[in-house]
């Protein structure tokens, strides 16, 4: 800065370059950009690059929470820690016992599947991710997680929390990805009723507490309290994860479908640690000798969930 700059006489009505022309130019560019982004896929890489550049912003945005976590950790008393440790050990014991039972069941299940000549079910490979941000747009239900293309995440992968299905990865940058939650109004999950295997589509409707089960005929056997699990049809979500519980059924005389609400099992706006499921490796050496087509999901069909 020149020290006497403030002293030079300035004309009051300085007029820069005409902004109108630039505005029109910018509007044209934007129109092209909007059309390209809304209708074609080419800009995904541009978005991904910019998002990678903006990763520090996400990091900074999450910093206060990290800091408060850190402070909270700093001031935990020894007694509390011991208590927590004890509690965790008890819990671990309980879960281990269940896991033992589960191992036996899984073995038995695989044995039965082998007898039926269908492919064995393998345990899904998962990676743990942390929520580092939520979508600033109150009308879209998305969260941002701290795992990205560097951890081999791809759009389309299912995301769970400890209670149930959360949503799916919709785009990734180098270090972060966006997850569309099942409650978003543009999201749908193919589900089945655990009790009797009826298959339906579960729609999000912009409400985090309520999902909507559609096209259920008036005569269908469905009750309040029925558990809905992902059916694996469509090939996007792995089969058998709890998604929601039927909470309310309204039969309207004259309508051909019932209107059914379900409460999501996953804690959509509370969970901070999520599991991202990797699709099973493509079976290069498929088991079935004579191809009995059991609907083993996972590698038939495509799309459908978005």
């Amino acid at each position: 800065m020149i020290p006497w700059e403030g002293l030079t006489i300035k004309t009051i009505f300085v007029q820069g370059p005409v902004p109108g022309f630039r505005l029109i130019l910018v509007m044209l560019v934007s129109a092209a950009l909007i059309a390209a982004d809304a209708r074609f896929e080419q800009l995904a890489s541009v978005r991904s690059t910019l998002a990678t550049g903006l990763a520090p912003v996400h990091w900074l945005g999450n910093a206060p929470y990290r800091f408060s976590d850190w402070v909270a950790d700093l001031f935990v008393s020894r007694g509390d820690l011991e208590e927590q440790n004890e509690e965790l050990k008890t819990r671990l014991l309980i879960l281990e016992r269940r896991a033992l039972k589960y191992a036996a069941l899984a073995a038995e299940n695989n044995e039965l599947r082998r007898l039926l000549n269908s492919s064995e079910s393998v345990d899904d490979r998962v990676i743990i991710a942390e929520v580092v941000g939520v979508s600033p747009d109150p009308f879209s239900h998305e969260v941002i997680i701290n795992k990205g293309a560097n951890d081999n995440l791809r759009p389309g992968q299912a995301v769970l929390d400890s209670q149930g299905l959360m949503g799916q990865v919709i785009n990734t940058s180098q270090f972060t990805s966006r997850v569309l939650l099942i409650s978003d109004s543009s999201h749908a999950v193919p589900v089945e009723v655990v009790r009797n295997g009826l298959r339906y589509i579960l729609l999000g409707n912009g409400d985090r507490e309520q999902l909507e089960l559609i096209h259920v005929p008036d005569t269908a056997d469905i009750r309040e309290g029925d558990m809905l699990v992902s059916s694996g049809l469509g090939g996007r979500f792995p089969r058998g994860y709890p998604v929601a519980e039927v909470s309310n059924i309204v039969k309207e005389p004259g309508e051909s479908f019932m209107s059914i609400q379900a409460t999501p099992k996953a804690r959509l706006n509370q969970s901070r640690l999520l599991l991202v499921v990797f699709p099973p490796q493509e079976n290069v050496d498929p088991v079935p000798e004579e191809s009995v087509e059991a609907e083993s999901a996972n590698n038939d069909g495509s799309g459908g969930a978005d």
Partner: protein
Amino acid sequence: MLSVISYPLFAISVILALVLSISLFPVGWFEFRPEWLGLVVFYWTLRAPAQFGVVLAWCLGLLLDVLEATTLGVNAVSMAVIAFLVLAMHQRLRMYPVAQQCLVVFLVLGINQMLVHFLKQFLGADSPGFAYLWPALTSAIAWPFVAAAFDNLNRKLG
């Protein structure tokens, strides 16, 4: 009407606005969050119309598009409109008392929010009602504080 402006302050204000627009707001109050980046664009085009203008505002809007995962260009063109409106009336705007400035902030950011909303509806979003105008109101309330803080820092750092 500052004779000196501080470029580092500009950079910091932009980063701060971007961070604030994705974080640090109580969850239930999301729709009342001020449009921080809009305020930053408003401030800098008002204070330094020769240096900051339509194109820079457009670039900042593009960053916001990436952060919000909206269709690329929606926030960008809306930010450019803010800059254009401020450029068109910055000479009068400086003479206004604070209350009147707040009113203009409300109108200009309201136009910005409306444009974003219309474009999103046009592209298939579904959110009826006028709730999308809340950010314009809260931004207008925040304007005197933001402007005073930046003016102070500009004088110290510039």
